[in-house]
């Protein structure tokens, strides 16, 4: 059941009406839990047992952690949670990937190994709910939160349907307190939730899905397209993945909101970032903060000198890449981000040491201090452009996944996908093909969609800086909203496209 489909609209209407008509907090939570399991079972009924298993494991381990004060026992309990959760993730998400990789490696060495894959179905959202339950257990272990005694509340925290399949990754300390009070129906929340849902749907249907139809052929066979096509497709994919994922997040936050729950934001205009660090403060915020809190800082963060910091950065980004999917191209995507973060950190270190020797240090971005010979606005634009370029080149590797050839049971070797990505990136700079004189005219829809995305980004940023939002008079607002909704109906594709992040 996809958020942008009719069955979900019916499901949400039923859940909304029933939820608010139930008199007690427990009844509402029990109903939401049943609805969440039902929502998940619409993909694959059997796989709900994994969520339930993970819930059981972490519920009891957290209680065990609370009751035991002996450190070895607590460590053993934490290890059990890590092994249980990451074990499930390893089997369902990574086992086949490692078997195929090993087979490819052995074949390249001339060894014919008869290694068979498990061929298990990848459970939707497994990476999201695994990280969520892990964060709960680790927080209890660290003493940051007290474990909940209510199995119902904990189950709902794990399975809450708006964010179950593609996040945002909710922390227990943000969500569980919200379950302790009964919600009051509030029209203002319904208003803003409905509009936020409409905005998310617009990003998904009007921008992401439209861009997908233009982008997919270019990434499938980049060698059939010219250099300007490749540039445009690269930026269009950046737009597609942002609108797809942030559209989903907006809808998830909106659905939670109309049910009386608050989820943290996951995006903050990432393509306006003026540095890689800035980008990761704006893109998939719930994942980047998870990685920071539960991986980067435990590894030592930036406390042990530059080399350890660089190692930690690279490790976190590689694992972040692997978290997205079982493919080496995701690892390379992580490596590009890791390398770029290291370069910008190193540059910042060098710049601050120069500044300490008496040079002026700019306060607005890691790459800026050494560019003071340029005007401050130009410097900002240069940093923004560099960040945008690095992020989008990395998206090429993210997008070029091994495809399953027609009729084949297993995906093509990673080398084929990598070959496409390398060809793509190389020919961004080495001219390929002859450009049609009316090229731009034929690409006008792509350009308009990108312009719409850019306008949305700029407007959102403008508002973030405290400007007053556009407020139409009510008699004009009604027709404007109606036209907005009708445009969505008009341009929605015949078949619902799944969200990109559902596969992670």
């Amino acid at each position: 059941m996809i958020f942008s489909s009719w069955p979900f609209a019916v499901f949400l209407a039923v859940v909304f009406a029933t939820y608010w008509s139930l008199p007690t907090r427990r009844a509402r939570h029990a109903f939401l839990l049943v609805a969440s399991y039902g929502f998940y079972m619409s993909w694959n009924p059997a796989l709900v047992t994994l969520i339930f298993g993970s819930t059981l494991l972490d519920y009891f381990i957290a209680i065990g952690l609370d009751r035991n004060r002996r450190q070895p026992v607590r460590r053993a309990l934490l290890a059990a949670s890590l092994i249980g959760n990451l074990g499930i993730l390893a089997i369902f998400k990574y086992a086949d990937f490692f078997v195929l990789s090993l087979r490819e490696l052995l074949q390249s060495l001339g060894v014919q190994a008869n290694l068979s894959t498990l061929n298990v179905i990848l459970p939707v959202g497994i990476s999201f709910y695994t990280f969520q339950t892990l964060s709960y257990t680790i927080d209890v272990y660290r003493g940051r939160i007290a474990p909940t005694r209510s199995f119902l509340d904990f189950s709902l925290y794990v399975a809450f349907f708006p964010q179950l399949v593609a996040g945002p990754i909710v922390k227990a300390r943000d969500f569980l307190p919200q379950l302790s009070t009964i919600k009051r129906f509030d029209w203002a929340r319904i208003d803003s939730g409905a509009l936020l849902f409409l905005l998310g749907l617009t990003k998904k249907v009007l921008i992401a899905d439209q861009l997908a139809t233009l982008v997919d052929p270019v990434f499938a066979e980049p060698n059939r397209f010219t250099t300007p096509d490749l540039w445009l497709a690269m930026f269009c994919y950046g737009g597609q993945i942002y609108c797809d994922f942030s559209g989903y997040t907006d809808m998830a936050i909106a659905v939670a909101r109309v049910l009386g729950f608050d989820l943290r934001p996951n995006f903050a205009n990432p393509y306006l970032a003026t540095g890689l660090t800035d980008f990761w403060h704006r893109w998939h915020i719930s994942l980047s903060t998870w990685l920071r809190d539960y991986l980067y800082i435990p590894l030592g963060g930036s406390r042990f000198g530059p080399l350890i910091t660089y190692r930690n950065l690279m490790l976190v980004m590689l694992l972040g890449g692997l978290w997205h999917g079982a493919s080496w191209t995701f690892v390379i995507w992580g490596a590009i981000h890791g390398s770029a973060l290291i370069v910008s950190k190193a540059y910042a270190g060098w710049a601050s040491s120069s500044a300490s020797r008496g040079r002026e240090l700019s306060t607005s971005g890691v790459l800026q201090p050494k560019l003071e010979f340029l005007g401050s606005k130009f410097r900002l634009v240069a940093c923004w452009a560099c960040t945008l370029l690095v992020v989008h080149v990395a998206w090429v590797f993210f997008r070029c996944q091994p495809m399953t050839p027609p009729g084949a049971l297993e995906p093509e070797p990673t080398a084929a996908a990598l070959g496409r990505a390398v060809y793509f990136v190389t020919h961004l700079f080495v001219p390929a093909g002859v450009t049609d004189p009316v090229w731009l005219m034929n690409k006008l829809p792509m350009c308009l969609l990108l312009a719409l995305l850019a306008a949305l980004h700029v407007y959102e940023e403008w508002l973030r800086r405290g400007r007053r939002p556009l407020r139409l008079p009510a008699p004009l607002a009604g027709p404007a909203y109606a036209a907005w909704a009708l445009a969505l109906v008009l341009f929605s594709p015949e078949n619902t496209n799944p969200f990109i992040y559902f596969q992670f």
Partner: protein, 392 residues
């Protein structure tokens, strides 16, 4: 008073700011907010109604972009002054692979191609019920292939174009409830009441054609679609693209150029309990009950597909043949219909090129003559006056 926007923890601040009137009740007088909400809802509803009335006014223009493949062929068949003695049915393989002209030449009686892309066993039965409501042809040639009885088939075309409420409920009862089929059926049925929604596809194309200066390619697509919808169905129902000079490249040439990158059809999953096989059986029963003589011809795949499907296709073809034998329906195997063939004989993986289609049709027609299937009168003769049916 300027409403104060409280610190927002619960939703992206940028997003919340984007939304006009997203302030909180404590910052805006409740009564004023309620008035505004009512005004917005009422004006939005009026706008939707006004747009819907506008769409109604141009309904005829919008209808020009729709092709109901089922209605188009059924209407062409119904409009024939002399009903064909032989009707050729099946999916797109039959649409391209069974040439009425060859049947007419060999069997010397009128033939009509009722093959419809994407139709499979359940659609065939619903189509037969409509096509043969008023008359019985002397013979129906059903072109089948393994993919027509694939285990994972969902009758989406039927849900969109053929099901009435009874069919929909019957399907749910016999095959289980599918959310995809239910969604397609309900959206089609209930969405029709809302003109903007029901005609959204036509409206989009209508608008595309009017912005040709900005979007020439999109305008061209819309124009082609309108022209295609307006094109009359040929008298014998046969529309092979090579007859019209379209898609002239064949699979062999495509493979020479692009190798493994050429599109390949997915291997159909097989199950002896597949719903599609059950519906095939009920189709055979239906023809038997209505005393319409039937012959089933297996329409072969290209050699490339046959190689890839070798794990599934023989079992599926055997299952079809077995059912035909049980119902005493003559079956013409792939070996008999097509004989030797190469990838150059096919449009792409699945559909026969015109020369191969003629060969297949001739062989099936000869088999019909050899088996004297047209000689014996069916027990129920045509319900239309005899002069409307061409004698063999």
């Amino acid at each position: 008073m300027t409403p104060e926007v409280p610190p927002i923890f619960n939703a992206s601040p940028n997003v919340m700011h984007l939304i006009p009137n997203a302030e909180y009740p404590e910052t805006v007088a409740r009564a004023s907010a309620t008035r505004r909400r009512i005004t917005i809802v009422v004006t939005a509803a009026l706008t939707v109604v006004a747009v819907d009335l506008g769409v109604h006014r141009i309904d005829a223009d919008l209808a020009a972009y729709y092709i109901n493949r089922y209605e188009r062929k059924l209407a062409a068949l119904a409009a024939l002054p002399q009903k064909p003695a032989i009707v050729l049915m099946g999916s797109s393989r039959a649409k391209y692979g069974l040439v009425p002209e060859e049947f007419q030449r060999v069997a010397r009686c009128r033939a009509f191609n009722l093959g419809i892309p994407a139709a499979k066993t359940i659609e065939w039965r619903l189509l037969a019920e409509r096509a043969f409501a008023d008359y019985n042809p002397r013979l129906v040639v059903l072109g089948v292939n393994a993919s027509d009885v694939r285990a994972d088939y969902l009758p989406v075309p039927a849900a969109v174009d053929l099901f009435d409420w009874g069919d929909f409920l019957d399907y749910g009862r016999t095959d289980g409830w599918s959310s995809i089929v239910a969604e397609k059926f309900l959206v089609r049925r209930l969405g029709g009441a809302w003109a903007f929604f029901g005609r959204r596809y036509g409206l989009k194309l209508f608008m595309q054609e009017r912005v040709a200066a900005l979007f020439p390619k999109h305008a061209q697509v819309a124009r082609e679609r309108r022209e295609m919808a307006a094109a009359p169905c040929p008298e014998d129902g046969f529309e092979h693209p090579w007859l019209f000079g379209r898609n002239l490249r064949n699979l062999g040439l495509a493979l020479e150029d692009q190798g493994d990158r050429v599109w390949a059809a997915e291997v159909p999953p097989f199950s002896p309990d597949a719903g599609a096989l059950r519906h095939f059986e009920s189709l055979l029963t239906w023809f038997g009950d209505h005393d319409i003589r039937l012959i089933v011809a297996y329409l072969p795949n290209s050699p490339r597909t046959e190689r890839r499907w070798r794990g599934a296709e023989p079992q599926m073809a055997a299952a079809i043949e077995d059912l035909c034998r049980r119902y005493d329906v003559p079956f013409v195997s792939a070996r008999e219909t097509a004989g030797e063939r190469t990838n150059y004989d096919f449009l792409e993986e699945l559909h026969a090129g015109l020369p191969l289609a003629r060969r297949i049709s001739e062989r099936v027609a000869r088999r019909i003559i050899d088996a004297r299937l047209l000689d014996e009168s069916p027990s129920i003769v045509a319900r239309l006056p005899e002069d409307e049916i061409e004698a063999p």
